[in-house]
C-alpha cells in the first residue's frame, strides 16, 4: 500500500457509534446488518451522546436519510438520533474511512481547495456470528480508498487490479453487487490457479453522493474504495481449513515457528 502511495488511517478504535459506522455511510436504520443478530451492541458504554457529533453534519445526515437531497429521493423513513447514538463494536473499517473523509471535507472547507488523498487501513472488525470453521466473531479487514476529482469505475478497476497484482493475484474479474454505501458496486473475483475456480476475494465501489455530499466534499470529487478480509485469502493461499488455526489462542505455536517466509510479491 505504502508503495502505491497510500496513507494509513488511524484505526485504533474498536468501539464505534452507529453514526459513523452506519448512518454517515447512508446505511438505513432498518437495514438487517444493524440487527442484534449481526452486530455487537455495547451495553457499557451504551451510547455516544449526540452532542459529540458535529452538529450541522449530523443534521444533514438525518435529512438525507429522510428526504434525500443532492439529487436523491432518500429512503423516506423516520430517522432517529437515538439509533445513531448506539455504540457498537465496529462491523467494518469503513467506519474509519467515513471519519477520514469528513476530516478531508473540513480541510477543503478551511483551505478552499481540495487535496486528493489515497488512504488505507488494515485492522480488526467484529460481527456477531457463531464461531465455526470459517467464521469468527472478529477478523481483519483491509481497505483502500482514493478521493479525487472525476474518478470513475475505470479508475477503480485499474487501482484494484494494481493492488491485487502486488499481492500476487493477476487474473481478476468484476461482478455487479450491492452495498448500501457504494453505487456502482463490484465484487472482485480471482482465479485460483490450484483449484481452477473463480473465488470472491473482495468488494469495491464508488461511495454514494448521499454519503459524500453531506460531509461537504465538493461536487466532482468522487471516492473509489475496495476492501477484503485477510483471513479468507490467507486460508485459501495456505490451505488452512479451520480459521481458528490462524487467529486466536488455539493457534499451534509449532506451526507459527515452522511456517516459511511469505514470498508473495517477491
Amino acid at each position: 500500500f505504502v508503495r502505491m502511495r497510500f496513507e494509513e488511517m488511524p484505526t485504533n478504535r474498536f468501539v464505534e457509534s452507529s453514526f459513523w459506522n452506519f448512518d454517515a455511510l447512508f446505511q438505513p436504520q432498518q437495514h438487517p446488518a444493524r440487527d442484534a443478530h449481526d452486530t455487537f451492541f455495547v451495553t457499557r458504554p451504551e451510547k455516544t451522546s449526540g452532542e459529540r457529533f458535529p452538529a450541522d453534519y449530523l443534521e444533514r445526515v438525518g435529512a438525507v436519510h429522510e428526504d434525500g437531497g443532492y439529487g436523491s429521493i432518500g429512503y423516506r423513513y423516520n430517522w432517529k438520533l437515538s439509533e445513531a447514538e448506539k455504540n457498537i463494536l465496529r462491523t467494518h473499517t469503513t467506519a474509519v474511512s467515513s471519519r477520514m473523509l469528513y476530516k478531508l471535507a473540513k480541510k477543503f472547507e478551511k483551505e478552499g481547495k481540495f487535496t486528493p488523498m489515497r488512504y488505507f487501513s488494515i485492522d480488526r472488525v467484529f460481527r456477531n456470528e457463531s464461531v465455526d470453521k470459517t467464521h469468527l466473531a472478529e477478523f481483519h479487514q483491509c481497505e483502500g480508498l482514493v478521493a479525487d476529482y472525476n474518478l470513475s469505475l475505470a479508475h477503480l478497476i485499474g487501482t484494484v487490479e494494481q493492488f491485487f497484482r502486488n499481492i500476487g493475484m493477476t487474473d481478476i474479474k468484476f461482478k455487479p453487487a450491492y452495498n448500501p454505501y457504494t453505487e456502482p458496486s463490484m465484487e472482485i473475483f480471482a482465479l485460483h490457479p490450484g483449484l481452477g475456480k473463480w473465488l470472491e476475494i473482495g468488494n469495491s465501489g464508488i461511495f454514494r453522493p448521499e454519503m459524500l455530499r453531506p460531509m461537504g466534499l465538493p461536487e466532482g470529487v468522487s471516492v473509489i474504495a475496495w476492501g477484503l478480509s485477510l483471513e479468507r485469502p490467507t486460508m485459501i493461499l495456505y490451505g488452512v481449513d479451520n480459521i481458528r488455526d490462524l487467529f486466536g489462542h488455539k493457534v499451534d505455536l509449532d506451526m507459527m515457528k515452522t511456517n516459511p517466509i511469505c514470498r508473495i510479491g517477491l
Binding site: F41, M117, R208, D254
Partner: protein, 605 residues
C-alpha cells in the same frame, strides 16, 4: 426455473452462471428437491431412493442483491433476465378498471394510528393461477415479510379472494376480545385475545405476536358484511383464503412505514399482474384515510431522473452516445426519453418503473449503464494524481517493536479481543477491576461478554492450548486492549500494549526484566534506577503489590511520572485458573507514550 421455458433456450450450468454473473446475481447452487432433502439429513446419494432422479426438476439457488425486491420470485428474475438479454421489453404497468367492475374502497379508522397507521391496497382481476404460480405467490409474500418488512414489523401483506368478500372495506383497531373470526387453517371462531394465546405454541407465528400483543387495540380489516379479512400482522381469515381457482385477488398491506408499504404492494402487483387476463393491469383501490382524504393505490407512477450523458460517461469511464446509453438502460428496465437539446450532448430523462424501487439517485442509473455495458468490458485507467504514502505512526512503531521482540527470541501471537468476564478478571485475580471493561449485549457465543482490558489472559490461554510445546516458551503480543474512557467520543478507547510471556522450568523473572530493559533500549529511553524519578525522559520501576503477580517478585514500570505497565512472576493461582503447569513471568506495558519522532515530538493524537 427451467431455462428453456423462461429464457428461451437451454443453458448449461456454466452458461447460466455466466449470465447471472454479468447481471449481478449469483448462482449459488444447482440441486434437486431430493438432494436438498439428503443434505438436510446429512446423507449421501446412495442412501436414499434414487428412483426418478432424472425427472427431478433442477432447482437453482440464486443469491440476489439485498435491494432488489423485484428479484425475489421466479417471475421477477426471469423477466429481468429476459429484458437484460433483449428478449422482452419492459412492461408498462397500467392502472385500469376492467368493464363491469367497481373500484374497491378501504376506509381507515383513526384508532389504527395507535398501533399500525397505514394501509395500501390493490386488486388483480381475472387472474389464472397454476400450482407453481400459486406457490410462487405465497413464497414472494414470505420473502418480503422476512426482508423488506423486517419480519412483518414494518409491513404485513394480506391477500384475499375478492369474490368471497363485499366492499367497501374498513381498517380498524379494536380491543382484542371484540375481534372474532375463523383464522386460516382453523375451523372454529376465535376472539383475538384467545388467538394470541393459541399461537404462543405455533412455530411459525409465535415470533410475530409481540408486534401487537401489548397494544390495547389490535389492527383488523373488515368487509361490509363484517367478515374479517385479516388480523395484521398475524394471520388472515379463512373465509377469504385464496385457492387455485381464485380469479380476483384483493391485496392489502398494513404498515408502520408508509414508503415500504408502497414498495411491497408494488412488488406484489408488478410481479403477479402478468397472470391477469389483461397482463400488467392492476385495478386501483381508493383508500380513504382518517381525515377523509382519498388516494388511489397502488402508485405505479414512473419516477423521473434527469441525467447528463457526459456525467454517465465520466462516472463509468467509458465514452457512450446518448442513443447507446438508452439502449443499454432499456436492458435494465429503465426507459429513456431524450431531451430536446441533443446537440448539446444533452440530458436524458430516465423513467424508473415501480419494479426498480432501488433507484434513489443518478448514481444508481450510472451503475445500470455500466452493468449493461459489462463491467469487464471497461478499459481500466489509473488515477494519476500524486499522493504520499505513509504508515500510521503507532502502527509503524508497533511493527518495529515486533521485529525487536522476535530478535530477542519471542514468538508473536495474535489473539481475540473478546473474552469472558471470568477470563479477563476472575482468573487473573482482578475482580475489583470488573467495571473497567466494555461490555457486550447478547453475543451469540457466550464467551464473548467483554472486550479485553489486558493482553495477559489471552497469552495465558494460548499457553494452555499449546501444552505440547517445548519449554521454555516465549510469547509476545503487540495489540490493542479496550478501556472505558469518558473523555473519548464513544466512551471507550483502544490502548496499544506489548505483552511478553515466559514459561519454563523456572519462572524466568530475569528474562522478562531483560525484555523490558531491551525494549526500552531500542526505544531510546534511558533508565533511571531507584525511586527518585528525577529524569523526566527516563523510565524506572518500583515494587508493586498487584494480585496477579507473585508478591516481592513484581514491579510497576514508570515513565514520565505515570505507571505505564507492570511485570513479574505470575501468581500460581492465576496459573491454576488457566490450567498451566510451568511457572511463568510476564510483562505488559502501554507503548503509546513512546510514539514520538526522532526529535522527541509526540505524534500520537
Amino acid at each position: 426455473l427451467s431455462t428453456s421455458k423462461e429464457l428461451g433456450k437451454v443453458y448449461t450450468d456454466e452458461e447460466f452462471e455466466d449470465v447471472c454473473f454479468d447481471f449481478g446475481i449469483e448462482l449459488d447452487d444447482v440441486t434437486t428437491e431430493k438432494q436438498m432433502e439428503r443434505n438436510e439429513l446429512g446423507l449421501s446419494k446412495s442412501d436414499m431412493d434414487v428412483d426418478n432422479e432424472e425427472e427431478e426438476e433442477i432447482i437453482y439457488k440464486i443469491d440476489i442483491p439485498a435491494n432488489r425486491y423485484d428479484l425475489l420470485c421466479l417471475e421477477g428474475i426471469s423477466r429481468a433476465l429476459r429484458i437484460f438479454q433483449g428478449k422482452q421489453e419492459t412492461p408498462t404497468f397500467v392502472k385500469e378498471v376492467v368493464a363491469g367492475n367497481e373500484v374497491q374502497t378501504m376506509h381507515i379508522k383513526p384508532e389504527t394510528a395507535l398501533i399500525r397507521p397505514h394501509v395500501v391496497c390493490a386488486t388483480l382481476r381475472n387472474v389464472t393461477f397454476t400450482a407453481e404460480s400459486y406457490k410462487s405467490f405465497i413464497d414472494l409474500q414470505d420473502k418480503l415479510h422476512q426482508n423488506l418488512c423486517r419480519q412483518r414489523t414494518l409491513v404485513a401483506i394480506g391477500t384475499h379472494d375478492l369474490d368471497t368478500l363485499k366492499g367497501p372495506f374498513r381498517y380498524e383497531a379494536l380491543p382484542p376480545e371484540k375481534i372474532v373470526f375463523t383464522p386460516l387453517k382453523q375451523t372454529k371462531d376465535f376472539n383475538a385475545k384467545d388467538l394470541m394465546e393459541f399461537y404462543k405454541t405455533d412455530q411459525k407465528l409465535k415470533q410475530y405476536l409481540h408486534i401487537i400483543e401489548d397494544s390495547p387495540v389490535f389492527p383488523v380489516i373488515y368487509d361490509s358484511n363484517d367478515t374479517v379479512l385479516s388480523l395484521p400482522p398475524i394471520i388472515n381469515g379463512a373465509h377469504s383464503a385464496i385457492t387455485l381457482d381464485t380469479k380476483n385477488v384483493f391485496i392489502e398491506c398494513t404498515a408502520t412505514d408508509h414508503t415500504k408499504a408502497n414498495v411491497v404492494l408494488n412488488t406484489v402487483v408488478t410481479m403477479f399482474s402478468q397472470y391477469c387476463a389483461k397482463p400488467f393491469t392492476v385495478e386501483p383501490v381508493n383508500v380513504v384515510d382518517q381525515f377523509g382524504a382519498e388516494r388511489m393505490y397502488p402508485n405505479l407512477d414512473l419516477v423521473e431522473f434527469e441525467v447528463k450523458q457526459k456525467d454517465i460517461c465520466k462516472a463509468i469511464g467509458v465514452e457512450l452516445s446518448s442513443e447507446h446509453i438508452s439502449d443499454l438502460l432499456r436492458k435494465m428496465q429503465l426507459l429513456v426519453e431524450p431531451k430536446e437539446e441533443e446537440t448539446t450532448g444533452g440530458s436524458l430523462i430516465v423513467k424508473v418503473p415501480p419494479t426498480r424501487s432501488d433507484i434513489l439517485h443518478a448514481c444508481d442509473i450510472y451503475e445500470d449503464v455500466a452493468i449493461a455495458w459489462g463491467y469487464n468490458n471497461i478499459v481500466k485507467q489509473v488515477p494519476k494524481t500524486m499522493t504520499y504514502g505513509k504508515e500510521f505512526p503507532l502502527n509503524q512503531l508497533s511493527d518495529l517493536l515486533r521485529a525487536e521482540m522476535a530478535m530477542v527470541g519471542f514468538t508473536e501471537i495474535l489473539t481475540w479481543a473478546l473474552c469472558s468476564l471470568k477470563e479477563n478478571f476472575e482468573y487473573v485475580r482482578r475482580e475489583h477491576l470488573a467495571e473497567t471493561a466494555v461490555t457486550i449485549g447478547n453475543p451469540k457465543t457466550l464467551d464473548f461478554e467483554v472486550c479485553r482490558t489486558s493482553l495477559l489472559p489471552c497469552a495465558l490461554k494460548t499457553l494452555a492450548a499449546n501444552k505440547d510445546a517445548p519449554v521454555p516458551i516465549k510469547l509476545f503480543e503487540l495489540s490493542d486492549v479496550i478501556l472505558i474512557s469518558e473523555e473519548h467520543e464513544t466512551g471507550a478507547k483502544n490502548e496499544r500494549r506489548l505483552l511478553a510471556l515466559f514459561s519454563g522450568k523456572e519462572s524466568g523473572f530475569e528474562v522478562i526484566h531483560g525484555v523490558l530493559n531491551r525494549i526500552m533500549q531500542v526505544l531510546g529511553v534511558p533508565v533511571e534506577l531507584g525511586d527518585k524519578m528525577t529524569n523526566p525522559e527516563a523510565y524506572s520501576w518500583k515494587e508493586s503489590q498487584d494480585k496477579t503477580f507473585f508478591p516481592d517478585r513484581q514491579a510497576t514500570v514508570m515513565y514520565k511520572k505515570k505507571e505505564i505497565g507492570i511485570f513479574g512472576v505470575v501468581h500460581p493461582e492465576v496459573l491454576k485458573a488457566f490450567d498451566i503447569v510451568y511457572p511463568c513471568s510476564a510483562l505488559e506495558i502501554n507503548i503509546e507514550p513512546f510514539c514520538f519522532d526522532q526529535h522527541g515530538n509526540e505524534i500520537l493524537e
